[in-house]
């Protein structure tokens, strides 16, 4: 924890991120290329789902990352409210749209997969609905953090929202187990069957790791941009002679 506190200083964080970002970006591109090749050409087609199983390589990691992203927002919110770390606010501002994008990718790929598999783009099943709610929570967070004239107020209001909204995460995680009886069992995602063959599981996990790299890369880059933006705004305010 001490190390994370060390990075809470924006200037120090910026030096750190500038050192890390080029290598991280290079690694992300390499891994994504390799994993996409694995997912689309090396991994076999499923005997039941056929070629559509390849959608899962993008769908499942996006779902994981969008949930992880919201947990990150809640953690950042807590550290902003408890320790008043200025960096936490900037990083939450940077991370929310990235997480929302992963949630959107998850919903879109899910419905594209659902069409051939379930025969419909959308069912009002517990997991789909709670994922949609997560997407709305992201949108609320983004809108709220940008709704104030003083950005600090928006940051703190959004932090409180993130802490309340995090209740949704266990609901998403366990919705499939809790609401089996209320919904037709066919709509439960097939991946929770214990037997995923290694030829599918290994590329899936690699894909998850490379998308995690992408997530971290985007969040660090956007945080750096937020720091620069906040600095420029402060400099502009001072130049105007700040009639305090």
């Amino acid at each position: 924890m001490a190390d994370l506190h060390f990075l809470a200083n924006p200037a120090r964080f910026r030096r750190f991120s500038q050192r890390v970002l080029p290598g991280l970006g290079f690694a992300t591109v390499l891994m994504l290329c390799a994993c996409l090749y694995m997912a689309f050409f090396v991994a076999p087609a499923d005997y039941q789902q056929g070629q559509t199983v390849r959608i899962m390589f993008l769908h499942v990691p996006s779902a994981w990352l969008s949930m992880m992203g919201y947990a990150l927002l809640a953690g950042l919110g807590a550290s902003l409210l408890v320790w008043r770390h200025p960096l936490a606010a900037l990083m939450a501002r940077a991370a929310a749209p990235v997480g929302a994008s992963f949630a959107a990718v998850c919903l879109l790929t899910g419905s594209l997969w659902g069409r051939p598999m379930w025969g419909t783009y959308w069912v009002w099943d517990a997991r789909l609905t709670s994922m949609l709610l997560l997407f709305f929570l992201y949108l609320g967070h983004i809108a709220l953090s940008r709704a104030y004239d003083e950005p600090e107020r928006g940051d703190r209001a959004a932090a409180i929202l993130a802490l309340i909204g995090v209740i949704n995460l266990p609901i998403i995680k366990f919705s499939v187990d809790w609401w089996n009886t209320l919904h037709q069992p066919a709509s439960v995602t097939r991946l929770d069957a214990p037997a995923i063959h290694n030829s599918i599981l290994v590329p899936l996990l690699w894909m998850a790791v490379s998308l995690l790299f992408l997530f971290v890369f985007l969040v660090l880059l956007r945080t750096e941009t937020e720091i620069d933006r906040r600095r420029l705004e402060n400099a502009a305010a001072q130049e105007e002679g700040a009639p305090a």
Partner: protein
């Protein structure tokens, strides 16, 4: 400590009592919004019976949102909020008092009104009672979550639309189990499970939102 709670609650109720039109507008909105559905969908009784609970519940949710924007805004503008922040009793209790008064003024009348409108949808007596019970247990949750959204958007640009964007997703579980209760009754199952879940949701909201509202109000007052 409870003295402050009751004093604030009594003050808010007195303010509403002197302006009863504000409550009337919310109830009128509820009636008009609900009436639109039979007009838009058509008068087939079996269709209306099927959608009644969902329509009455969703419309109650929208009606409860209507009056939320002013819940803290008036106090914020005239300085009452600053006094509440300085008051020697916890701000969490003040938040709870505001939400309680919101529930008495909107949630309670909506719960009473819904079964009356349910008759127009052809619901039987048992379903009407279920509708009343679920709304009575569910609407406090809406007031608490809505109070949080109102506190978070206090002083924001376009706070009305933002308030709905924040509150509605958080209210979905209450809506699902509230409207679902009437449906399970039609399927011949008991109400107890759904009422218990609604009660649990209300308790979770009661145990979390007052603190979150107080935190939001504190940073609005800074």
């Amino acid at each position: 400590m409870m003295g402050g709670f009751t004093a604030l609650l009594a003050r808010d109720l007195r303010l509403v009592w002197r302006q009863p039109g504000d409550v009337g507008v919310v109830l009128a909105f509820y009636v008009v919004a609900v009436v639109l559905f039979p007009l838009g969908i058509g008068p087939e009784t079996n269709v209306l019976q099927r959608i009644a609970a969902g329509v009455l519940w969703s419309a109650a949710l929208f009606a409860a949102l209507l009056s939320l924007e002013r819940l803290f805004a008036a106090d914020h503008e005239d300085g009452t909020l600053d006094l509440l922040l300085l008051a020697p009793w916890p701000l969490e209790l003040a938040a709870l008092a505001k939400c309680t008064s919101h529930w008495i003024v909107t949630g309670l009348p909506l719960s009473l009104l819904a079964p009356v409108l349910g008759v127009a949808f052809g619901l039987d007596g048992e379903s009407l009672l279920a509708l009343f019970a679920t709304l009575l247990i569910g609407t406090p949750t809406l007031s608490l979550i809505g109070g949080l959204a109102a506190a978070l958007t206090l002083g924001a640009r376009k706070s009305g639309a933002l308030l709905a964007l924040l509150a509605l997703p958080l209210c979905v579980p209450t809506l699902i189990f509230g409207a679902g209760a009437v449906e399970t009754l039609a399927a011949g199952e008991g109400l107890a499970t759904h009422l218990a879940i609604l009660g649990a949701l209300a308790l979770v909201a009661l145990g979390t939102t007052p603190w979150a509202i107080a935190a939001a109000l504190r940073q609005a007052g800074e």
